[in-house]
């Protein structure tokens, strides 16, 4: 993101915070897009925002929804649970009825409680922690898989293909990272592999040398990391430096090009579970080109799910012929939608009926190839 658009974005966020957003257009259908615009994981926010904005733009170009234009209101939660609750309150106060977000599981969960209570429809394109849809809420959906799908995918791959002699599982003690690490732990244990080490590091920790020394001494040959890329990047880099050459694997929270910027050559060969790359689907060719024309990257894991989330809101408003969020939630639960992530239908709890995670090998130049 260049400086100008960053400033434009902060101005936009500022305007939203000051409540000016509400004065602009009275006859639009506002969708709040909530995620990290700043902070250490803002890269993912970019994916979410670009997908959502593209959907709004394309839907408006086709005449909008029931004669009204959609309007994306971008809101920054920095992926902080406290901040997420604060901005959820803002969304409530601005009487916005639909939210595409949040992104991090840790911030999605507390915010979802407010949306449920206030009858606001929430579709997260990125939060994968299973607990979010286990609260019995009616207003909460997601256009992405869950860690209890992703964890077993990773765990099975480790147990069946890698067969490590000594496996270590590390996580960042956050809802997302620890949740998925536990799923992997459960799956490999069921396959008869007991990790030699299951430990949490601190979010924002920079020195992992002591942990690496310990793994090296214990002869660990495979490490699963549950968390995000800043910590894993440093872990990879310091492992390589100490001559600890175990292979690493992580969830979609580590799969963006910053991991290579931090870890450099040490990111070569990292395994990552990601949603399938929807941008390679021939049905999405036109959409991919639209992204490329705007010099945006359509390959990020949350771009298409965010697009789909906006589209589902729009399609539901059209199909149900109402803007009442509670009725829309019912409609969404009962119908299926043709989106860039395929034909989607939801379970009663708001999870997708089907979603597939694929394993990729990450390369030092920040590209990825699917593992056969």
């Amino acid at each position: 993101m260049n400086t100008f658009s960053r400033h434009a974005l902060s101005a936009a966020v500022g305007a939203v915070i000051l409540g000016l957003g509400g004065l602009a257009h009275a006859d639009t259908i506002k969708i709040a897009v909530a995620g990290p615009i700043t902070g250490p994981v803002a890269q993912y926010g970019d994916m979410q925002m670009s997908g959502a904005k593209m959907a709004v733009e394309q839907i408006n170009a086709k005449g909008g929804v029931n004669g009204k234009k959609l309007e994306a209101v971008l809101i920054d939660d920095v992926c902080e649970p406290k901040q997420a609750v604060a901005i959820a309150n803002q969304i409530v106060n601005q009487k916005i009825k639909y939210v595409v977000g949040h992104l991090c599981s840790g911030s999605t969960q507390p915010a979802s409680k407010l949306y449920e209570e206030e009858g606001i429809l929430m579709i997260t394109p990125a939060a994968t922690n299973p607990a979010i849809t286990q609260q019995g809420y009616k207003m909460v959906f997601r256009t992405i898989g869950t860690d209890d799908q992703q964890g077993p995918t990773a765990g099975k791959y480790i147990a069946e293909k890698i067969k490590p002699k000594k496996l270590a599982i590390i996580h960042d003690k956050q809802q997302y990272g620890e949740g998925i690490a536990k799923e992997v732990d459960k799956t490999v244990k069921a396959a008869g592999i007991t990790p030699v080490l299951f430990e949490g590091v601190n979010k924002g920790q920079t020195d992992f040398s002591a942990l690496i020394t310990k793994m090296k001494k214990d002869g660990v040959d495979f490490v699963y990391y549950g968390g995000y890329h800043p910590e894993l990047g440093l872990l990879l880099r310091q492992s390589r430096e100490q001559g600890f050459d175990a292979k690493y694997m992580g969830p979609e929270g580590v799969g963006n090009k910053d991991i290579s910027a931090i870890a450099g050559p040490a990111s070569e060969g990292l395994l990552v579970t990601l949603p399938a790359d929807f941008s390679t689907d021939p049905a999405n060719a036109g959409l991919v080109k639209a992204f490329q024309d705007k010099k945006q990257d359509p390959t990020g894991p949350f771009v298409m799910p965010a697009y789909a989330a906006v589209q589902i809101v729009a399609d539901a408003i059209k199909g149900a012929k109402t803007e009442d969020a509670v009725k829309l939630a019912d409609y969404i639960r009962k119908n299926s939608f043709q989106t860039p992530i395929g034909k989607v239908a939801f379970k009663n709890n708001g999870d997708l009926k089907e979603f597939e995670f694929v394993i990729f090998t990450w390369h030092a130049d920040a590209t990825k190839t699917p593992v056969k």
Partner: protein, 309 residues
């Protein structure tokens, strides 16, 4: 878990000393300011963060200009970072603390917290809130131990961190012990009002203290950018907290105490990570702090300070 290994133990000492050196460099800034004006400068962590940013930007810029000699990069980066960070230290003191001199102790403390928040947001607006990363400048090191077993790895960077830390600490100790300004510092630390009556320009001494503290924080910042290669506007908070702990552990107000405290804290974290669980490293570090304060309320090398009322 397999048994005790001497080589692993040595490696953990190396890890701990490297981490401890960085803590110690930052801790000095806390301890010096406290020693002279009895105030905890909570903005010091942010000063270190600025040092790290300047270091990273300088290294990147030097790379663009085609400077590829490690020692040239190191010296130039240290000089630039010390200069910039030192002037931040001076400015902060001048604007946020000097006008409050003579007010109750809590007032400058609040001001310090304000400065800390201001600097964090200021860097965030100027540089973006994202992580900024950089590939290592100095790579490689020595390996010891059997070819087929656990090898101790001592990187050039770790040696450099230890060497630079020792060099700057020695310099500071000599400066305080031998130079005229150093004597003035010690006099202010003993009794500021009396020193003032005897003709010492205490405002100048205090400004110098802040600049010296910022200098060492800048050195720590540069070393951290070179070693870890990742900075963001929020690194000052955790680093500041740890360094403050190190300063209290060693005895706040005592310079050798801050050095010792930093090293002890680094080693404690390293060993807790190694022989317990990584989760417990902060628990162990802070439990150690409580224990030391229970037995020696003034910290490891602190002087009892009863006469200040």
């Amino acid at each position: 878990m397999s048994g005790f290994s001497l080589l692993e133990f040595i490696q953990q000492i190396i890890n701990g000393l490297t981490l401890g050196s960085i803590y110690a460099l930052i801790a000095i800034g806390y301890t010096m300011v406290y020693g002279i004006i009895g105030m905890i400068n909570f903005a010091h962590g942010e000063i270190y963060m600025i040092g790290a940013y300047v270091g990273l930007l300088a290294i990147t810029a030097l790379g663009l200009f085609g400077v590829d000699s490690i020692s040239a990069i190191l010296l130039a980066t240290l000089a630039i970072s010390i200069l910039v960070t030192g002037s931040y230290g001076w400015t902060v003191e001048r604007l946020a603390y000097r006008p409050l001199r003579g007010s109750p102790r809590l007032v400058p403390l609040i001001s310090a917290i304000g400065v800390s928040i201001f600097l964090q947001n200021y860097v965030q607006l100027g540089q973006g809130a994202r992580d900024v990363s950089m590939q290592p400048v100095l790579t490689g090191g020595w390996r010891f131990g059997p070819d087929d077993g656990f090898q101790v790895y001592l990187s050039y960077m770790q040696v450099l961190i230890a060497a630079i830390t020792v060099a700057f600490m020695t310099g500071l100790t000599l400066f305080i012990a031998r130079s005229r300004m150093g004597r003035a510092c010690r006099a202010c630390s003993e009794d500021r009002a009396m020193a003032n009556l005897l003709g010492i320009d205490t405002d100048r001494v205090i400004a110098l203290t802040f600049v010296l503290g910022a200098t060492l924080a800048a050195v720590a910042g540069v070393l951290v950018s070179m070693y870890y290669g990742l900075v963001n506007p929020f690194i000052g908070f955790i680093a500041g907290l740890k360094a403050f702990t190190a300063a209290v552990l060693g005895g706040i107000g005592s310079i050798p105490g801050a050095m010792l405290g930093g090293v002890v804290l680094g080693l404690a974290e390293s060993f807790a990570s190694a022989y317990l669980q990584t989760e417990y490293k902060d628990v162990v570090a802070f439990a150690l702090l409580i224990l030391v304060l229970l037995i020696r309320p003034t910290g490891l090398l602190g002087r009892p300070d009863v006469e200040k009322v």
